[in-house]
Symmetry: C2
Subunit: 290 residues, 2 copies
């Protein structure tokens, strides 16, 4: 994906900080520490922590303060990938061109690595540069986005409806807003909270992220049909997974993604040019071709 060069600087910063976190926090010879290091070095696009840092930066927050929440969001995302790849879930052997964690290590170690990253995220989020009141709001937002009414519920509903013919666009919207949307929304919101934003501002960043997140998922479905995702081509459809393309044409899906993205951007209007970097990231995500 082609990010503007200013955004790439943030991306490089996240990569360096994640590596340092992995090497200092997971530094024992215990297998689970090796698995945590491996998983965090996952060569992802780092979209979620980028959103956190860019939200904070747009509101003139301190980068050092936003770093904790940014890494926490990436740790929660990483744990979810490890657990989703497990044999009892999606049973995936490869992720981003490398063996998945349970293939590289083993199943129990992968399970524990996911548990460790999820738990530790709540420690890492507590950056001392953030006033305590905002720390509490950040923890609350992370737990809501990830938990039994957030990402986990989306994954559960995804499993429930997979292979069933009777699912509707409402089911699919529920699944993707919970499974993908809420954590992306949270990534934006905790960036705003790290910059000590008031409730209205924090909610605007949340709504921006929620719409962007669903748009992101629609585009993921579109890209699953074509080259360059790194996933097995058309694998989702072949497995009977729920995709927007089972319910609408590719043209309609692309239109839906564009509408969601426009709806997302409306939330950022009060902040004008200050938030041009996070807006640029949103545009890059919409226009990506892989």
């Amino acid at each position: 994906m082609n990010f503007p060069s200013e955004i790439k600087l943030f991306q490089d910063y996240i990569e360096v900080q994640l590596r340092q976190l992995a090497q200092t926090r997971y530094n024992s010879a215990s297998p689970v520490h090796g698995a945590c290091q491996y998983a965090l070095d996952g060569r992802g696009k780092r979209i979620r922590p980028l959103l956190t840092l860019l939200a904070s930066s747009g509101l003139e927050g301190k980068q050092s303060a936003a770093l904790g929440p940014a890494m926490a969001v990436e740790m929660i995302h990483t744990y979810s990938l490890i657990h989703d790849d497990l044999p009892c879930m999606d049973d995936d052997d490869m992720r981003r061109g490398r063996p998945t964690v349970h293939k590289q290590f083993d199943e129990p170690t992968a399970l524990l690595a996911g548990d460790a990253l999820l738990t530790d995220a709540f420690h890492i989020a507590l950056n001392p540069d953030i006033p305590h009141k905002f720390q509490s709001q950040i923890i609350s937002s992370l737990a809501d986005a990830g938990g039994g009414r957030g990402m986990v519920l989306g994954q559960d509903q995804d499993m429930f409806w997979t292979g069933k013919d009777s699912f509707t666009i409402e089911n699919l919207n529920f699944i993707h807003s919970h499974k993908t949307g809420k954590l992306i929304a949270c990534a934006c919101k905790v960036g705003a909270l790290a910059a000590e934003a008031d409730d209205d501002t924090a909610n605007r960043f949340y709504d921006f992220g929620l719409n962007l997140g669903i748009a992101f998922q629609v585009i993921d479905d579109l890209l699953d049909d074509t080259e360059g995702t790194g996933k097995s081509k058309g694998k989702d459809l072949a497995q009977g997974k729920l995709t927007y393309l089972a319910l609408m044409t590719a043209a309609d899906a692309r239109k839906m993604a564009e509408e969601l993205t426009q709806k997302a951007f409306v939330n950022l209007e009060p902040f004008g040019d200050r938030v041009k970097l996070i807006r640029g990231l949103g545009e890059a995500l919409l226009n990506r071709s892989y």
Copy 2:
């Protein structure tokens, strides 16, 4: 286990509150919500949330403030049991006289229920009656106790050494202090923090719980040999699991548990009779016969 009647009142309160939490938070028809309800209704002794409430009560903290951290600790304990019981881990079919979560539901649902309870614990811990500064300390303590340098590392080391003959008393102490001790220590500490305790007091409750927790594990090993644990008798030893009885006689193990418990109680001395309930719980745990 025979708890004094004053402690039983706290136990009943926890049971009612956990049921209410389960029914309001996990109230959808999605399978993972059913599994969370089932797991929280697990008929456990509720030792950890009891320690939290009794620590807070001994320091004249508000019961309503300590309730959130108490339930969070029980949720983290419950998640750890669900994941430990999974086929790729201990592969247990029964727990406390009922089918384990993955037997009652299925494996993916059990995995997700554990993930949900762990994540949501960090939301539940944020009781609004607790000042924000102490909320942050509580979150930090929970994440440290549960995460990649806490309970998860203990479980990982347990798996690593299981079946190997060369493990030492140091390995075993490391495993149990991490796998069992740290969360029990945390349960006590977060109760103190909910009562707005200073650092020295919070650390005393932590050290009390850490020693008590290891003592608790030694007694668990002793009871595994005898009747009435609800576990398969001698199953741990038969599976090549690490127990203190593989390294010492039962008499020496009992002496070790008593010494740890005395070491635990020393930490509570400055608080005199105010902490008689939590001391009474500690004594009941040491003297239990099942």
